[in-house]
């Protein structure tokens, strides 16, 4: 019994990890006032970068760095579209997702001459968990995700950059009046967003699995947005929402054993979001200047 419960808990943690990274990435972006529907794309590029660099160098640690750089560069493209070309942020976000899917599929085909999955690569370092007879491993990125929650919280609350970031998301004109450029702040915010999503992508491809698949993100970038809303754009609450959704995934897996069709448990995170927001009557308030200049 203990083993079953432990398995469920670890499963929930692993399920929540990519969501936490992506949702924190969305949080950095949206608290700075930039709508971010491109989390899915950022993560996909990160997942691909991780496998490619690991494949080439043979080092998953280098792969992790590769993931972060790839996703960060991709996020800066998004920043350029939104902040300098003033593209509509919703359209640009969707375009970035399509672009990510296209680039990754193309490169997989060119590099390995296969259509969907990369060859297996070495996985990132894992922490072994032993409790009685129970043996399991979790990726090092699982605890990193929880550390990231604290780091993001600290940056937002206690640093000059965090203060500027929050001001940019609430009222950029107030920031201008003090001599700080909201554009610059938002560029850095999107850089953070890319880095975090890169970590999330790396978890999927070299932390949880050991290969890249073109469908590896599987809508997690969008579920992360749901978690972000459920968490009212606050780091700790958002992470809690991710955990709840991760647990729902895991419980869903368990339910398939009882003849519940797979499609039903796939809906759980979305249903849960609606239920949490409506039934518990949680008032959410997006950053006031979200999507505005």
């Amino acid at each position: 019994m203990t083993a079953v419960i432990l398995g469920l808990i670890l499963g929930a943690l692993a399920g929540a990890t990519p969501l936490i990274f992506a949702a924190l990435g969305g949080l950095c972006s949206e608290r700075a006032g930039v709508i971010n529907l491109a989390l899915e794309g950022f993560m996909l590029v990160g997942a691909f970068g991780a496998v490619l660099v690991t494949y080439v160098t043979g080092s998953p640690l280098a792969g992790l760095i590769g993931a972060v750089i790839a996703a960060a560069v991709f996020a800066l493209v998004y920043a350029f579209l939104c902040l300098d070309l003033r593209a509509d942020q919703i359209v640009a976000g969707i375009v970035m997702n399509l672009l990510a899917a296209g680039i990754c599929a193309f490169l997989v085909k060119r590099i390995w001459n296969i259509s969907q999955n990369s060859p297996p690569v070495e996985k990132l370092f894992s922490i072994p968990i032993a409790f009685g007879d129970f043996r399991r491993e979790i990726s090092i990125l699982v605890p990193v995700a929880f550390v990231a929650v604290i780091v993001v919280w600290f940056i937002l609350r206690r640093t000059v950059f965090g203060l500027n970031l929050r001001a940019a998301g609430e009222d950029p004109s107030a920031l201008v009046a003090t001599g700080v450029s909201p554009r610059r702040v938002r560029y850095f915010a999107l850089l953070c967003s890319g880095i975090l999503c890169g970590l999330g992508g790396a978890f999927l491809s070299i932390g949880y699995l050991n290969q890249f698949m073109t469908t590896i993100t599987h809508g997690r970038g969008f579920i992360a947005i749901a978690a972000l809303i459920m968490g009212n754009w606050r780091p700790v609450r958002t992470a809690a929402a991710c955990l709840l959704i991760g647990a729902a995934y895991e419980a869903g897996y368990a339910l398939t054993g009882f003849g519940v069709p797979e499609e039903v448990w796939r809906m759980l995170p979305y249903v849960l979001t609606i239920v949490v927001l409506c039934v518990f009557n949680i008032a959410v308030r997006p950053p006031r200047a979200l999507g505005r200049f």
């Binding site: 950059f161 203060l163 609430e170 001599g179």
Partner: protein, 486 residues
């Protein structure tokens, strides 16, 4: 001693409108200078130029003996010149201290030194008599408190020349007094203070010097000790038109028009009623005032009559279509800023149409009539509503409702809040001339006393009594409004 701030030969055009014409303006340190003038006289533009928020077409600006080429607020800030805007530029979701220090918080390696920040901000708040902690969220502050935070923000950055654009427009008398105390203290510390207003009684309370602008020109400047309110008024507007006669006496023979019957409003998620068993009726040809301090149920009365909310108990006796309404927030509720005047007329006048098709020519005609009738300055049917000044927007809203035919009741909510006295006097004369019944909800007791035939006093959502003109003295009304006895 040279002036702390000196503007010379300032000229500014917006399109083909000459906003400022070769204006000289100087401010000595350690004193309060009032800058007065009608709406559109150029006051806001002038302080905007001094603060670097608006770039002049020509002219020279000196601060502390240095000639400056000011073009950005930051440049002006670094020279010790700061502007408190009418609508404060603060961030609701940040704490008071974070707002004060935004952009330049005390920090080490990018991490904010919270103790140092709290200490500095607490000192500033004490100095400004603001009884709030540095960590309180700005959203919980009232308007006068926000103003003080804004002043603290400028003082934190070392501002010595403090410009305030109509700081008292939305303040209650008590709050205005408090602000004046603080400003006097700052002046005695050596700050140069410029105070933009159109309320003359305030000018004579706070200022030592008065500079008068009219239609973009400086008409003159006076020492307060050497002039009178009458002289300044004449300088501001040229001449004051005579007020039309008051409406004839009482109206007991008329049938009252019931508006609300025992209406109670409890907002969702709240336990205390915003409006309690409130009954309201008006008489044709008379003005019925509703007096009260802001937030005592006025919004709920207006929303009930507008059909925006329905009462939890009791009844609304009129349909929204039977009552012409001028809402309290002219830019958020009154009209759509990004629409033209013509389009804003169409929104309010459902009858200007041909079947399903909008009658644009008809709407433009009504808009033109409103503009002409109410003397809306510098506007045409295609002017964007959002580009009007406060006074002109208010005139447009009142005119738009007056242009409706067959509405027996007109409801006005703070119709002259924050506008200049010439526009105010003009609107008052128009309100008196309305032939139907008028419901006047106002936070301005002077206005109510001037216009109303009967007044109901509202306190915490309940009526504290209804009085005919002259029945009880002003002090008693004020006392009832604030919860005291008559």
């Amino acid at each position: 001693m040279p002036p702390a701030l000196e503007l010379r030969g300032i000229t500014k055009r917006f399109g083909n409108i000459l906003a400022l014409d070769n204006v000289d303006f100087s401010v000595p340190a350690g004193s309060v200078t009032a800058l007065v003038g009608e709406n559109g006289a150029g006051k806001t533009t002038l302080v905007g130029i001094a603060a670097g928020a608006v770039r002049p077409d020509s002219g020279e600006i000196n601060a502390g003996g240095e000639t400056l080429a000011l073009s950005r607020p930051l440049d002006a800030l670094s020279r010790g010149v700061g502007l408190v805007y009418q609508h404060t530029r603060l961030v609701d979701d940040l704490s008071c201290a974070e707002n004060v220090a935004l952009g330049v918080p005390p920090s080490r390696c990018g991490i904010i030194s919270r103790d140092k920040l709290s200490e500095k901000v607490s000192q500033l708040f004490d100095r400004l008599r603001l009884d709030r902690g540095p960590d309180e969220l700005l959203a919980s502050l009232t308007l006068p408190e926000r103003q003080k935070v804004e002043i603290a923000r400028l003082l934190y950055r070392g501002v010595k020349i403090l410009l305030l654009d109509e700081p008292t427009a939305l303040l209650l008398p008590q709050e205005t007094e408090e602000l004046f105390t603080v400003l006097r203290e700052e002046a005695s510390r050596g700050a140069a203070i410029v105070f933009v207003t159109h309320r003359l009684e305030e000018v004579f309370k706070i200022a030592e010097r008065i500079v008068v602008l009219r239609a973009g020109c400086k008409v003159g400047q006076r020492k307060v000790s050497e002039t009178t309110p009458d002289e300044i008024a004449v300088m501001m507007v040229g001449e004051v038109e005579a007020e039309p006669r008051l409406k004839a006496g009482l109206f007991e023979e008329e049938m009252p028009i019931p508006l609300l019957e025992n209406a109670t409003v409890i907002r969702r998620g709240e336990r205390v009623a915003r409006l309690k068993d409130f009954t309201l009726e008006v008489f044709p040809g008379a003005i019925h005032g509703v007096a009260g301090v802001a937030g005592n149920g006025q919004d709920e009365i207006f929303d009930l009559l507008a059909g925006v909310i329905s009462p939890s108990r009791g009844r609304v006796m009129v349909k929204p279509g039977e009552i012409a309404r001028v809402p309290g927030d002219r830019f958020r509720q009154g009209g759509i800023p990004d629409f033209t005047l013509s389009e804003n007329v169409e929104l309010a006048h459902g009858d200007i149409r041909s079947g399903f098709i909008l009658n644009r020519a008809g709407a433009a005609l009504v808009a033109k009539k409103v503009i002409g009738d109410l003397d809306v300055k510098n506007a045409g049917p295609e002017t964007l509503y959002g580009s009007l000044s406060g006074g002109n927007a208010q005139k447009f809203l009142v005119g738009r409702e007056l242009a409706k035919h067959g509405t027996p009741v007109t409801c006005l909510f703070n119709p002259t809040r924050g506008i200049d006295f010439a526009s105010r006097a003009y609107l008052h004369s128009r309100i008196r001339a309305i032939s139907g019944a008028v419901l006047l909800i106002s936070y301005d007791l002077e206005e109510l006393l001037e216009l109303s035939d009967t007044i109901t006093v509202l306190y915490r959502g309940e009526s504290r009594g209804t009085f005919a003109r002259g029945e009880i003295p002003r002090q008693s009304l004020a006392s009832l409004m604030t919860g005291g006895g008559a």
